[in-house]
């Protein structure tokens, strides 16, 4: 029986109403107390061996017979007009199959060609030309033979500079405003007011697998292998750009080497590869190299933030005011820096004003908890300063201002165990039992804390099928993606648990639009909370069918049968038959269960929370900073797989450490040229840089989220890392650092009270 339901769905804090088709009856919710046997246990990844041995096939591993390689020529200037372009020499190079520039791009045959190939380039890395060649080496030779003359135009890359220019008002987006209560009254009531300003840098995703697509045509059907967080988004973009129906397009992303928000749709590399493949009648592969990746696929926005917080002498926060500038690049979006300021604390008077500033840099894009990472650094650093002014323990101040209802909507939370997370973390790091600061010669060790809030409740539409095959094996079909988070493993656990069949008998097939099982993009920490319940519902349906069949074949009442460990049991505990026997006897019949994500419950705010504690060691003579320990305690609902949970938290924490200490796009303020677009100069953390990480969780029962009681864990671990480190550093050296990243020279200068000379190179 098909039923249509209208439900409210959240994605990274933005809400929309969705109609969704649901089948079957609501299932009784799972919780940590449900006595589950497979869910909640640490299962190694089902695809771990394939990944480690190299047999897992990523987009980069797709090589097809007769394949052609596409390579872009990209602008060396941040802003310039092409005055002359001559591709004839490149076209004449043996092995070159075509060269396209703004002059002939229309012949590639896709809709947005004029938006990809332009005469005026507006950031370094903007597309100038495309070479199609028999191999990549010839393609690079050909790039060098394209003669381009540019008329350089003045680039603007610094938002603070742009805000001061009368001539650049059209580059300013906003303000985006949020207000509750009476800000002036709030500050008037305050006994203590702190005012702080902060700067955060642009960070580059640096997915291990760079952006790329391989396209080929089978007759008039298009098949695209692509590294993406949403096969359906890619499919609809291709349909629109190429003017062909979605049913003729198959998008595959079987294994995927990271997205972090940068791979939500088709890139120009996808559309161009598909169009070129149609034109040439051969497969076309375009995968970006690391420099292209770091110049042209987006980044976490650079921000400038002003935070003002007022509090009563007893610590109660009366007002929070945040003003922020967000460098959105050419045409990015204004990430919500205000999330933490609005949502973290029980404070009646809050105002957030955000301005986006357009610059001659690549458009910014989503990056693991976009806005919240930047905003939490500013807010939680300022709250720490407030604690100092009040002479309060920073943890006590956070607990005192703890929000027990969502301060924005005044709704109840589906569940919130942040208090328990704070207390558990404090215990683990020795917040009260050990000294907060220890001196050892030139080195000082100290501890700091920060809280984090995020989304990740998931929702419909999300569909799955669970097939039980004639030998009792199970295939879970969905079109969701496993972007490296362990989705495959978690879905297999859920299906096995619900079916009562062994974990090892389940295979999960995903990342392929050909299943037509609509799944949301893998982002916003919502995959498990969206897809997990759909898989459970499908497994439940399959189980019901199995029991129905057994009941009829063996003439036993269905209510008296259960499935455990691959066999069907009577209520007296005796075995009726194995599932394989049952289906095998039916002439190799297989059962197909269908499942949909149930609608979200009304009236509850679903958020994820984290309490993060850092212990750092500072070398006061050199300014080097090492994170010795990071304790990350999460409320993400019930944990399906503690092993993949740990991987997610470790990955997020390490990425947060990189953001705090090393990562940052350096741009020459005059030319707009990126100084460090490669992994030699842009530093991403490696194992040897990372101290001890303690990932753990508090596991509240949450009957108001979904039939699993789960929330997301992809993004929460990165959010509070930088402020926890910042607060520990402040504790260690007695000086507040307000600009990320905390490079050795910045820390050294802060300790010595030196104002570094301004340079033209800036973190933008």
């Amino acid at each position: 029986m098909v039923k249509v339901v209208k439900t409210r769905v959240e994605f990274e804090g933005r809400f929309r109403d969705e109609y969704t088709v649901v089948e079957g009856e609501p299932l009784e919710g799972w919780s940590p107390k449900s006595g589950l046997k497979i869910v909640g246990r640490p299962h190694p990844r089902v695809d771990g061996a394939a990944k480690v041995t190299g047999s897992a096939k990523y987009t980069h591993d797709v090589y097809l017979p007769g394949m052609v390689y596409g390579k872009f020529l990209r602008s060396p200037y941040a802003h310039a007009k092409i005055t002359h372009i001559d591709a004839s020499e490149a076209e004449g190079l043996p092995g070159v199959l075509g060269v396209y520039t703004y002059k002939n791009a229309a012949t590639l045959g896709f809709g947005g060609a004029e938006k990809v190939f332009k005469q005026e380039v507006t950031y370094q890395g903007d597309v100038v030309a495309l070479v199609l060649a028999q191999d990549e080496s010839v393609a690079e030779d050909a790039l060098e033979l394209i003669r381009v003359e540019y008329e350089p135009l003045r680039p603007l890359v610094d938002p603070e500079e742009i805000m001061g220019l009368d001539s650049s008002k059209d580059r300013i987006v906003g303000p985006k405003l949020y207000e509750r209560g009476d800000l002036e009254k709030g500050f008037a009531e305050a006994d203590v007011i702190v005012e702080e300003s902060f700067k955060t840098q642009a960070a580059l995703h640096n997915c291990m697998e760079t952006h790329g697509s391989v396209a080929h045509w089978e007759g008039d059907n298009l098949v695209v292998h692509t590294s993406t967080q949403s096969v359906f988004n890619v499919r609809s973009a291709l349909s629109e750009e190429l003017g062909i129906p979605q049913s003729k397009i198959r998008v595959v992303s079987e294994f995927m080497g990271g997205g972090f928000g940068s791979k939500f749709g088709a890139g120009e590399y996808t559309v161009v590869a598909a169009a070129a493949a149609r034109l040439l009648g051969r497969p076309v592969r375009i995968v970006l190299d690391r420099v292209e990746e770091n110049l042209a696929t987006g980044n976490r926005s650079q921000t400038v933030q002003w935070v003002k917080i007022g509090a009563k002498r007893d610590g109660r926060i009366t007002a929070i005011h945040l003003k922020g500038l967000v460098n959105v690049g050419e045409d990015g979006w204004v990430a919500d820096l205000g999330g933490p300021a609005k949502m973290m604390y029980h404070c009646p008077n809050v105002k957030v004003e955000l301005y986006g500033v357009k610059t001659n840099l690549v458009s910014s894009t989503a990056f693991r908890a976009p806005g919240y990472v930047e905003g939490d650094f500013a807010l939680e650093s300022a709250v720490d300063e407030l604690a100092r002014r009040l002479n309060m323990d920073p943890l006590e101040l956070r607990l005192l201002n703890y929000a027990t209802r969502d301060p924005v909507t005044n709704s109840e939370y589906s569940s919130k165990a942040l208090r328990e997370a704070y207390l558990k973390g404090a215990e683990l790091i020795g917040w009260r039992s050990e000294p907060r600061v220890v001196r050892d010669g030139a080195k000082i060790r100290a501890k700091g804390v920060a809280g984090a809030i995020w989304w990740g409740g998931g929702g419909p539409p999300a569909y799955a099928e669970v097939k039980v095959n004639a030998d009792g094996g199970v295939t879970v079909l969905t079109a969701t993606q496993d972007i490296g988070t362990g989705t495959r493993t978690a879905l297999a656990q859920i299906a096995a648990e619900e079916l009562g069949l062994p974990f090892s008998s389940v295979r999960v097939v995903l990342g392929d639009t050909i299943t037509e099982l609509r799944s949301p993009g893998s982002g916003g920490s919502q995959t498990l909370a969206s897809m997990g319940p759909a898989v459970r519902a499908a497994a439940h349906d399959a189980k019901n069918q199995l029991l129905e069949i057994a009941s009829q074949v063996y003439d036993v009442a269905k209510e008296r049968l259960t499935i455990r460990e691959g066999s069907i049991f009577r209520s007296d505990g005796s075995v009726l038959c194995s599932v394989g026997e049952l289906l095998g006897n039916l002439g190799d019949f297989s059962v197909t269960g269908r499942g949909a994500r149930e609608p979200n419950q009304e009236g509850y705010m679903v958020n994820t929370f984290a309490a993060q504690f850092a212990e750092v060691e500072v070398d006061t003579e050199t300014g080097t900073l090492r994170v010795l320990r990071l304790v990350s305690v999460h409320d993400s609902g019930m944990v399906v797989n503690p092993l993949t949970f740990t991987s997610q938290v470790e990955g997020g924490v390490i990425m947060g450490m990189g953001y705090a200490l090393w990562e940052g796009r350096l741009v020459d303020g005059e030319s707009g040229v990126v100084i460090n677009p490669n992994l030699n100069d842009y530093l991403v953390a490696r194992c040897s840089d990372v101290g001890e990480i303690t990932p753990t969780y508090v596991e509240p029962e949450d009957p108001h989220t979904n039939s699993l009681g789960v929330k997301g864990i992809g993004e929460p671990p990165i959010i509070g890392v930088a402020p926890a480190i910042a607060n520990a550093l402040r504790e260690a050296i007695g000086v507040r650092l307000r600009e990320l990243p905390f490079t050795p020279e910045r820390v050294y200068s802060a300790i010595k009270g030196i104002n570094p000379r301004p340079t033209t190179a800036k973190y933008l």
Binding site: E136, S671, V673, P677, T759
Partner: protein
């Protein structure tokens, strides 16, 4: 950073590639054959040892040699031996060989310490001491230890061999004293006397990175505790690896106490010639770090020297 500046200069702005321009590849079986090839192709040829500097520069098309002469099939260039008061190291000896050599650990531990902080394990397994010294990257770590030890380089060309003092080796950024047609064959280090100690300290943004600054120190103390030998090499704070001569002078002939160490450290900050660099820091910062590292390296080297008497 120096590499970056070079890339920047050669390519203008950011026209970066990942595949080298095409080239011809030779794998000679003897050093003489390699030298013949080098003489034949002159400036158009490059010598490949471990390849961890050459190949990235070729991939970036900063270098476009028409001919690559791979030395890896040449026998007899990979050894560490001690005789007649000298330690001789073949040019194709890898960092890993240096780190694990008993002779090095016993006689010149500064070299092992230095090799162990070069880049990452992959580079240390492939990269060679001869390749590093011939490449003459001012951010290369090996050069400073070689300066501190006052080693000699043995270069071979078509007309025979010549010995080049370490002081004369570092001609400029990415420019050694090798003449066209010559290949570095061996590094000769005078075995330090009893009562010697050494240390190489590197300040880096994070593990595996080029140095912000690094200092190699080698000292010898006599029975009375006076310093009879001091060699100090500086990394990444000048156009080449530099010898900190004033700092050395502040030590030799004196009983080294904290005051003398401070004096030498201060002198080292005057010996260095750092430049501003957006990635690793300002000249002022690097200069200050040379002082800190010199002081720390001296303390460590002196402690070793005292122990080994």
């Amino acid at each position: 950073m120096e590499t970056f500046i070079l890339v920047f200069k050669v390519l203008g702005f950011g026209d970066l590639c990942l595949y080298p321009a095409s080239f011809e590849y030779y794998a000679p079986a003897s050093l003489d054959e390699a030298i013949d090839l080098l003489n034949k192709h002159r400036e158009e040829a490059r010598v490949l040892a471990g390849g961890h500097s050459l190949i990235p520069m070729m991939k970036l098309r900063v270098l476009r040699p028409a001919y690559v002469i791979d030395l890896n099939r040449v026998k007899g260039l990979k050894y560490i031996e001690e005789k007649g008061g000298e330690i001789r190291i073949g040019a194709l000896t890898t960092y890993y060989d240096v780190i694990t050599s008993d002779i090095v650990k016993r006689r010149v531990p500064i070299l092992a310490e230095c090799a162990s902080v070069v880049a990452d394990p992959q580079v240390r397994n492939w990269g060679t001491i001869g390749g590093s010294l011939s490449h003459c990257d001012p951010s290369g770590d090996m050069g400073s230890s070689i300066l501190a030890l006052r080693a000699k380089m043995v270069a071979k060309g078509s007309s025979g061999e010549r010995v080049i003092e370490s002081d004369d080796w570092f001609v400029g950024s990415f420019q050694s004293a090798l003449k066209t047609g010559e290949i570095l064959r061996e590094i000769v280090i005078p075995t330090p006397k009893p009562g010697s100690g050494g240390a190489y300290l590197k300040l880096e943004r994070k593990a595996g990175d080029y140095a912000i600054a690094a200092v190699g120190v080698q000292v010898t103390l006599d029975g009375s505790g006076s310093c009879t030998y001091a060699g100090i090499g500086l990394t990444a704070v000048g156009p080449t690896n530099l010898r900190a001569k004033k700092a050395e002078q502040a030590l030799v002939g004196r009983k080294v106490d904290d005051r003398v160490i401070e004096e030498a450290a201060r002198a080292a900050t005057e010996d260095c010639r750092p430049t501003d660099d957006p990635l690793r820091g300002s000249a002022e910062y690097k200069r200050a770090m040379v002082g800190v590292l010199t002081k720390r390296a001296l303390n460590k080297a002196l402690a070793d020297a005292k122990r080994s008497r």
